[in-house]
């Protein structure tokens, strides 16, 4: 229950694919561990990879093998608690897709400051895509490249002042 005090989850509670470290495709990391009344991730998933079983307050369950990394759940989640991670996007870099609801938006090729769940900064990463989709209620999705060891740490970015 420490997250109740700090606002930071114990990441070991988050389900990851067994072989995630060797994977080289995007998969969802659902950082939603609390029983709250919410299920858009489940009903919006076109592949049926995410389910909320029984009461709407149950936490979502994910079947990674069904996911095709379409990003709909990332844009739909009202808690901005779903991220797509590709741990081996390139030889040296991982990629993380982050919901980012601030102006100004970063642009492609921008260097941005990488921030973890606690608000600590970890150097810079590069933005490779910024997508705004009306179907996601205009929650922009920012894809950022970062050092592989930070793939499960970085969950926010900040535009670095020029």
């Amino acid at each position: 229950m420490d997250y109740k005090k700090t606002g930071i989850i114990d990441f070991s509670q988050v389900k990851l694919p067994e072989n995630w470290e060797s994977m080289s495709k995007f998969f969802p990391v659902i950082e939603c561990i609390e029983k709250i009344p919410c299920n858009p991730c489940a009903y919006s998933c076109p592949k049926g990879a995410i389910t909320v079983k029984g009461d709407i307050t149950n936490t979502p369950e994910i079947e990674f093998e069904k996911c095709n990394a379409c990003t709909i759940c990332v844009g739909k989640c009202p808690g901005l608690a779903i991220f797509l991670v590709n741990p081996n996007y390139s030889e040296n870099e991982a990629a993380v897709i982050i919901p980012y609801e601030f102006h100004p938006l970063p642009s492609e090729n921008d260097d941005v400051i990488l921030i973890d769940r606690k608000g600590n900064e970890h150097g810079k990463g590069k933005v490779i895509s910024v997508k705004v989709n009306k179907a996601f209620e205009n929650t922009p999705l920012v894809t950022v490249l970062l050092p592989k060891e930070l793939a499960m740490k970085i969950r926010h970015v900040k535009i670095s002042k020029k």
Partner: protein, 362 residues
């Protein structure tokens, strides 16, 4: 001259609007009264995506839910009176409304009180200094009128409102110096707290505000730790420079008119105050008088919308006596959704409060 309506709905927020939408499917001559110029209540200020299920407009931003509800109301059947307050109820069926120019008297077969809630205050030194706002006022300035309310804010209260308004302030370019919470744990959803934490906002649990200081308006706040006895721990004071202190320390149901109308009222801690006893149709101890939304106990807007639908449905059914099986189907559907919302650690509180004030069917 007294105007006559089938249904008068007091309050045009999520509960009142939902009641109007539902009732207008079956009956007409419906009046919605609200003290604000435009309908929507708190919905119109919510720029974040809502929780809940698809049927409760989940993942849709509150402000967009508001326009969906307004657009689905048949204007030939529902009249909206803005900047109008309901100031008195006279038994058995007469309500007095105060518009900007005059007092008018209105009669109706059914009344639905969707009067919402009032924000709580918290006592600390100089809590009347300019620069101290309720979270609702900050949201009104920022999200309705497009006015940046502050440069740097200290938020008091880590319930969902405190967490969400902090996030919205940051979206508006306001710095949040921290969120102060007297309880040992964050009261709101973890996902809201997580957004603030990764945006470098400290959350001070087991802390309280001692005072606000400044020459003419807030220049700084002093906070300190509270012990397990809820008393300030001396020597832990901390000064925080801010120009605004925002209070999000809970809500109290607004039940004055229901009280005046003679509805049975009971205190339920889980529902945050005195609330009218009501049955599963949201009808109070006074037949023909319904309650819905925060006035029947503080919950999320999803529950308010469902309660509003239930009240609107039953009020319309009692007037029009339309197809009974259609009515029962709809009632069961709403009941099922409400029950599902009231599971889990957040919903269970409301569920146990509702049990205390539940009226068995007449």
């Amino acid at each position: 001259m007294t105007e006559n309506y089938n249904i008068v709905i007091i309050g045009g927020g999520p509960a009142g609007l939902s009641a109007a939408v539902e009732a207008s499917k079956y009956t007409d001559k419906i009046l919605v009264v609200d003290e604000n110029p435009t309908p929507g209540g708190q919905l119109s200020k919510q720029t974040h995506k809502f929780f809940g299920s698809k049927n409760h407009y989940a993942s849709t931003r509150g402000v967009n839910i508001c326009s969906t509800l307004i657009n689905s109301i048949d204007k030939n059947k529902v009249k909206y009176m803005g900047q109008t307050s309901a100031v008195g109820f006279y038994k058995p069926d007469n309500i007095v409304l105060e518009t900007e120019e005059k007092l008018i008297s209105v009669k109706a077969h059914k009344f639905i009180f969707a009067t919402g809630a009032m924000e709580n205050m918290v006592s600390f030194e100089n809590n009347d200094l300019p620069g101290i706002y309720g979270a609702g006022a900050v949201q009104t300035l920022m999200n309705l009128y497009g006015v940046k309310p502050a440069d740097k804010v200290l938020m008091i209260g880590a319930g969902n409102i405190g967490l969400i308004v902090s996030y919205q302030l940051m979206q508006a370019g306001v710095k949040i110096a921290g969120v102060v919470e007297a309880a040992p744990g964050i009261g709101g959803y973890h996902v809201h707290a997580a957004k603030l934490r990764r945006m470098q906002v400290p959350i001070y649990t087991s802390h309280t505000i001692l005072g606000a200081y400044g020459k003419e308006s807030v220049e700084k706040a002093v906070i300190c730790e509270v012990g397990s006895d809820w008393q300030p721990v001396s020597g832990t004071e901390k000064e925080i420079n801010v120009d605004t202190i925002c209070l999000a320390v809970g809500l109290t149901p607004s039940v004055e008119l229901l009280h005046q109308a003679g509805c049975g009222i009971k205190y339920a801690k889980e529902l945050c105050g005195y609330v009218p006893l009501h049955d599963k149709y949201m009808e109070t101890t006074v037949p023909g008088i319904f309650v819905a939304g925060d006035a029947s106990g503080i919950e999320e807007a999803s529950a308010a919308m469902l309660e509003g639908r239930m009240a609107g449905l039953k009020a319309a059914y009692d007037i029009e006596k339309f197809n009974r099986s259609e009515f029962i189907n709809e009632v069961e559907h709403i009941e099922f959704e409400l029950k599902s919302l009231r599971t889990g650690p957040f919903g269970e509180k409301a569920a146990s409060g509702k049990k205390k004030i539940f009226l068995e069917e007449r």
